[in-house]
């Protein structure tokens, strides 16, 4: 049995060759992903790399044009609508219901499942207590601080006991100190409850400090998958190296500026070259696979017309640091 096949057997989530286009813009270009039960997997990438789209596909909020496989716990999810999937999402801006109290927000997932009032109140209180919000049950959402809202959103997602918890930039709007405590919270929850978590972030530090594994995405494709140390120490392409290691943000020069344009072209070619074929033990082709375009036959013709726009998307790459 190959190692890939063994991973697929142990995988809670298995996604293969997912292609998603918004209009004529390709968001996901043949993405495959395996998530093991009980792990915290981070999808890392610059803005526009398709990481949030991927999360939305997993939650069922977007329907991919093609997907060779999408299973959660062995069940095919491709035809299952969002409200019947065993996933729960913590949205980037929390998406708490403003007309309900914190407690009613947490209870909502149980309410639609027909859990009796007393039972769901007890569960909601337990979930709030777990996140140190025991006394906030009756608060309105606008009376909560940013960190408290974040934790209410967590409690709301946890209380339905999802098989897979999806976090969309969970720390995005929080300050440094809150981030640290929440990172610890998420880690503790994951380990005590045995949760499987997929989180999306553009912050390299967050990804390195709390993940079991990292998936680096770029321009709608997965460019490297591995443990944090592997990604950091043995990036498979210059893009990953630049993204993980810092450096000057790249700017798209004006076409008329000939020297800058030529330098830019060279640099772009360079970005796609492998760092070092001996150290880069990447399972992925070192050069970004051009043929991947063929893996999404559904929108082949459509994307060809868009090729100029796509090229621009590629060139914007090393914009790694979070615009905070």
């Amino acid at each position: 049995m190959t190692s890939a096949a063994r991973l697929r057997d142990a995988a809670l989530l298995h996604a293969k060759n997912i292609c998603l286009a918004h209009g004529t813009v390709a968001a996901l270009d043949g993405v495959s992903l395996d998530v093991r039960a009980g792990e915290l997997l981070t999808i890392l990438g610059p803005s526009g790399s398709g990481k949030t789209s991927l999360l939305r596909v997993l939650a069922g909020l977007e329907t991919p044009q093609t997907a060779d496989a999408l299973t959660i716990d062995g069940a095919d999810m491709r035809a299952v609508p969002a409200h019947l999937r065993p996933t729960a999402t913590v949205f980037q801006h929390y998406a708490l219901f403003p007309h309900l109290t914190a407690g009613a927000n947490v209870e909502y997932g149980l309410r639609v499942r027909g859990v009796p009032r007393a039972a769901r109140r007890a569960q909601a209180e337990r979930a709030l207590a777990l996140l140190r919000l025991a006394d906030k049950y009756d608060r309105r959402i606008d009376q909560l601080s940013g960190g408290e809202r974040q934790r209410v959103a967590f409690a709301r997602a946890l209380v339905t006991r999802p098989l897979l918890l999806l976090l969309d930039e969970p720390m995005g709007a929080l300050d440094e100190r809150l981030r640290a405590t929440l990172e610890a919270d998420i880690r503790a929850l994951q380990q005590s409850q045995g949760m499987t978590i997929v989180q999306v972030t553009h912050s390299r530090d967050e990804a390195l400090s709390m993940s079991d594994r990292i998936v680096v995405m770029h321009a709608g494709r997965v460019v490297q998958t591995g443990a944090p140390e592997d990604i950091f120490e043995r990036p498979s392409t210059r893009f990953v190296a630049a993204f993980m290691g810092g450096g000057e943000p790249h700017r798209w020069p004006h076409r008329a500026d000939r020297p800058a344009w030529r330098a830019h072209r060279l640099r772009r070619a360079d970005l796609r070259r492998p760092v070092d074929r001996r150290t880069a033990a990447a399972p992925w082709p070192a050069r970004l696979p051009r043929r991947a375009r063929g893996s999404c036959p559904a929108w082949r013709g459509r994307l060809r017309r868009q090729s100029a726009g796509r090229r621009r998307a590629h060139a914007e790459l090393p914009r790694h640091h979070a615009p905070d």
Binding site: H83, F91, A95, R113
Partner: protein
């Protein structure tokens, strides 16, 4: 600089109060005249409640009033039902948003008399619509709908689309998402659309002149009485005072209710 700024602010505040007075003063004046001995003189004086007594004794205004209430109610409901779907769709439209909005809002530029005439000539002749209560509903609806839609659009554009997604994600089937999450969020817009539909229909005169046929609404009745210099004309002051107070009270109650909901 600072002093000039403060003076300007004070001036604007005064102007604000002035404009408010412009709106409320005629209502107060009307109320004063309605308890005056000779309302038609235009000056209050010799205060009496006798006009109110004869208003409650007279019967002519009751049927038009009930008819107007009914028509306005139907127009309000139609406005809400017709404004919610496009307003929900609008923020999700990928293209054609501006032209869609322009298409809906441009009829506001058609003068009321012209619109009444259009319904009277076109709808009657081409579609065989009989002029009566339903043609009133139709013309009032055409008039009020753009306002209702604007009121809904303001709310749907402000509503975070991720709320509905969060509800779906938590396991709510589409109908529950609509009832539990979307409708409460849209409630200010729904109330606004209904209010526009009701008030614009209830006070509508120029279109009603053409589309009313034999059916008399309250504004048509008031207009007819006033232009005929009939003995009923003094009662119109009382009637309009009561209507103004009632609609002000209704609007105030709605504002309070909405505040409680959205606060």
């Amino acid at each position: 600089m600072d002093a000039a700024f403060r003076a300007a602010a004070r001036l604007l505040l005064a102007a604000g109060f002035g404009i408010t007075a412009l709106i409320y003063a005629p209502v107060a004046w009307l109320a004063l005249l309605s308890v005056s001995a000779d309302p038609l003189s235009g000056w209050p004086g010799g205060f009496t409640t006798s006009w109110y007594a004869s208003l409650s004794a007279s019967l002519g205004w009751r049927a038009p009033m009930l008819r107007s209430l009914g028509i306005a109610g139907i127009v309000a409901i139609l406005c809400v039902l017709a404004a919610v779907p496009p307003a929900r769709a609008w923020p999700r439209m990928r293209r054609g948003r501006v032209s869609f909005a322009a298409l809906i809002l441009l009829p506001l530029g058609v003068p009321g008399i012209v619109l009444g005439l259009l319904v009277f000539t076109t709808w009657r002749v081409l579609f065989g619509v009989h002029m009566g209560a339903w043609s009133l509903v139709l013309s009032h609806f055409i008039w009020a709908y753009p306002f209702a839609l604007i009121s809904m659009l303001v709310v749907t554009l402000r509503t975070d689309p991720s709320l509905a997604e969060a509800a779906r994600d938590l396991g709510a089937p589409p109908l529950r998402v609509l009832c539990d999450i979307e409708l409460p969020a849209l409630m200010p817009g729904i109330v606004g659309a209904g209010l526009f539909g009701f008030l614009l229909s209830f006070t509508e005169l120029p279109r009603s002149i053409f589309t009313g046929g034999q059916v008399q609404t309250l504004p048509l009745y008031s207009f007819a009485q006033a232009s005929a210099h009939s003995s009923q004309i003094k009662l119109i002051f009382c009637l309009n005072t009561l209507i103004s107070l009632a609609s002000l009270a209704a609007a105030a109650v709605l504002v309070v209710l909405l505040r409680r909901r959205t606060a």
